[in-house]
């Protein structure tokens, strides 16, 4: 595999003494580590709840299916966005009720539908006629949302490419479903992931409000839900708007909806990104023509997997009291693959074998997409509410 050149991540150089708490953690638990801080999850939940009052928050479990994460959000009062029977099993174990969930995978096997119904989840999302037909045997038990697609080529991950019907098609699909005896209770959309600005959300809300009102005026069945998806950004770097200013125009757009329409959202990244810190250890050093290479015991096949799949640029922290002399540096993971590089084009002081590197804001799409490649063990996951994490 060819390696891809990445923009430099934000780097912080902290005094060597500040490494102490991380060193203690790996002395106790081993390296590499991923430390989840439930206090930060609770804080993120509160801030999104404040920024979107009255909007039901369904945590997209796929962002981080760790038990401690899901349990913390359940305690906060979150509902859950599920996509697989595996996620259902996790929620069962934590004793979350099925009527607190929405099954959002647009493509389902019959078994997936049955597993969800047995769990008590009766809300589903579909985006095409073939999927609607799959619900005929269960038509009296379910409530269906239609996923409408609003292409967003400017988001790092364009979620409208793979799934979603066009707005023009949505009303007709809803009518066809009604003829089959299947109730369409509303629309859902995904404006993108880690959206830089709220315009895609506001545009989609406005368009869906039109569609909902038009549908309700012209049909006997009434739609009652709008699902505004996720895409709420987190500050991996300085350019990200804070959640309050990001949501203000969305709140305004939501005012277009008639009062009886319930609004829900499916935040994933926003609720968990800030809540995990990766701690890894330098296991090798080499000076090469393009700079100094540090080989860490965690990389893109492990906790830094989102560097590849999620295009996330996690802030990096290193520890040194020598800040005047820095070197062009590349940080790589431990596997044999050349793509396993998670930081390039950075300048940092010299590190030694055994020194620590800390990755911050590593709670979303990190452990969720880690692999066992090369049979390197995945980072151990622990919980801590210490402010350092």
């Amino acid at each position: 595999m060819a390696s891809v050149s990445l923009p430099a991540p934000p780097v912080t150089i902290s005094p060597a003494s500040e490494a102490e708490i991380y060193r203690k953690a790996i002395e106790t638990h081993g390296s590499p580590l991923l430390v989840i801080n439930p206090a930060k999850i609770r804080r993120a939940y509160r801030s999104l709840n404040d920024a979107l009052p009255g909007v039901g928050l369904y945590f997209a479990i796929k962002a981080n299916p760790h038990r401690a994460v899901v349990k913390t959000l359940a305690e906060c009062g979150a509902s859950f966005d599920i996509a697989t029977s595996g996620e259902i099993e996790l929620l069962r174990e934590i004793k979350v009720r099925g009527d607190n969930c929405i099954h959002t995978h647009p493509i389902k096997r019959d078994k997936d539908i049955r597993d969800a119904l047995r769990y008590g989840c009766t809300k589903f999302v579909v985006d095409n006629l073939e999927e609607i037909k799959k619900f005929i045997p269960y038509r009296n038990r379910v409530g269906i949302l239609l996923r409408v697609s609003f292409p967003n080529p400017n988001s790092p991950v364009d979620l409208s490419k793979k799934f979603g019907c066009t707005p023009d098609n949505a009303i007709q699909l809803a009518e066809t479903a009604t003829e089959m005896g299947i109730k369409i209770k509303g629309f859902s959309f995904h404006a993108g992931s880690q959206c830089a600005c709220p315009e895609n959300h506001t545009h989609a809300v406005e368009r869906c409000a039109e569609l909902l009102m038009h549908y309700n005026e012209t049909h006997e069945q009434n739609m009652s839900i709008l699902d505004i998806g996720g895409g709420f950004p987190v500050p991996y770097d300085n350019g990200t708007p804070d959640i309050e200013s990001f949501c203000a125009p969305i709140r305004n757009a939501l005012k277009l909806l008639p009062e009886h329409i319930a609004v829900i959202a499916e935040p994933g990244r926003f609720l968990v990104a800030d809540a995990a810190t990766a701690v890894s250890t330098v296991i090798g050093v080499a000076d090469r023509c393009d700079g100094r290479w540090y080989y860490l015991d965690d990389g893109v096949y492990g906790s830094y997997s989102g560097r590849i799949y999620d295009h996330a640029n996690y802030p990096i922290r290193v520890f040194s009291d020598e800040t005047s002399v820095t070197h062009p540096t590349i940080m790589a993971g431990p596997t044999c693959d050349s793509i396993d590089v998670f930081a390039e084009n950075i300048n940092i002081p010299e590190l030694k074998i055994g020194d620590l590197v800390v990755g911050e804001m590593m709670g979303a799409y990190t452990n969720a997409t880690a692999t066992d490649f090369n049979l390197f063990p995945r980072a151990k996951i622990i919980e801590s509410t210490d402010a350092a994490f």
């Binding site: 069962r92 174990e93 004793k95 009766t122």
Partner: protein
């Protein structure tokens, strides 16, 4: 105050005040709970769906037992598929002329739990000398057994769930294979007002094997959504065409202590409302 809300339907559902949780388990990909409710007594729910309550179980168990047994009139051997709570068994045991009762339950834990937490359902029937418990998958048992029966009662859970195999064409065919000539199969078949597809598919699958196939009904308050349907499958069309005098005579002779069943209701149960009849055309 705690509440238990059924999650059977997205658009509506029933909800119970939970006075006390008596038993709860989250094992084998299932959530089972038994709780006390001031109106319904002990209530058992599996995966968000009410299975049985002490207050209204008699309507279900009497309907599923006495109608086939008294329609047949000379039942010696009864097979119960499922029915681990012992309610059907209790009703069958009331028939003195029945010589043997086999119950096939997939999990002995269901029986043990019911004996402990729903003792009124079986009311001592598990100790009846005519009773034999087989721990096996009901679908597997009817496929393999050499025994034959006069009445088979399928007291299963929902087809979306562990009871799925008890709603297949193969299962119905195997039931026919182990019915004595003139015998009858009856099954729990959901609430047609909400689950018409279940009724339609059962009818399609049973028709293949039986000369006479219909449904009869009873209204059980906690199986919400109108009357519950029970399928009726036999090769003897006369079984459900008995006149009232014969049923009355059998009922009196049987000396059953019942609260729901009456001979008049027995005959009336086969009179189906139009919205169910239209599915059977």
């Amino acid at each position: 105050m705690n509440r238990y809300s059924e999650t059977l339907y997205d658009a509506w559902g029933q909800s119970f005040a939970v006075d006390k949780v008596l038993f709860e388990t989250h094992t084998d990909h299932q959530h089972l709970v038994i709780f006390k409710n001031s109106h319904y007594g002990r209530v058992m729910a599996l995966d968000g769906v009410i299975q049985t309550t002490e207050a209204d179980e008699f309507i279900y168990h009497e309907s599923l037992t006495h109608i086939p047994l008294l329609a047949h009139g000379d039942v010696k051997k009864v097979l119960i598929i499922g029915g681990g709570d012992g309610g059907i068994l209790r009703e069958v045991c009331k028939h003195k002329n029945v010589e043997s009762i086999t119950m096939v339950e997939i999990d002995n834990a269901v029986v043990e739990m019911s004996r402990e937490h729903l003792p009124k359902h079986s009311d001592g029937a598990f100790d009846d000398s005519r009773f034999q418990l087989v721990i096996d998958d009901g679908a597997n048992f009817v496929a393999e057994t050499e025994q034959t029966f006069d009445v088979i009662i399928s007291d299963s859970t929902d087809p979306i769930g562990p009871g799925e195999v008890l709603f297949t064409q193969d299962f119905y065919g195997n039931c026919k294979r182990c019915l004595n000539p003139g015998g009858v199969l009856v099954t729990q078949n959901g609430v047609p007002f909400m689950q018409a597809d279940e009724l339609i598919s059962t009818h399609e699958r049973q028709q293949v094997h039986f000369a006479d196939n219909t449904f009869y009904t009873a209204a059980i308050p906690t199986y919400v959504g109108g009357v519950m349907a029970f399928s009726w499958a036999s090769d003897n069309k006369d079984l459900r065409a008995q006149n009232l005098e014969i049923i009355k005579a059998r009922f009196e002779q049987a000396e059953l202590a019942v609260r729901f069943y009456t001979p008049e209701l027995h005959l009336g149960a086969f009179a189906l409302p139009g919205y169910i009849q239209e599915h059977l055309k």
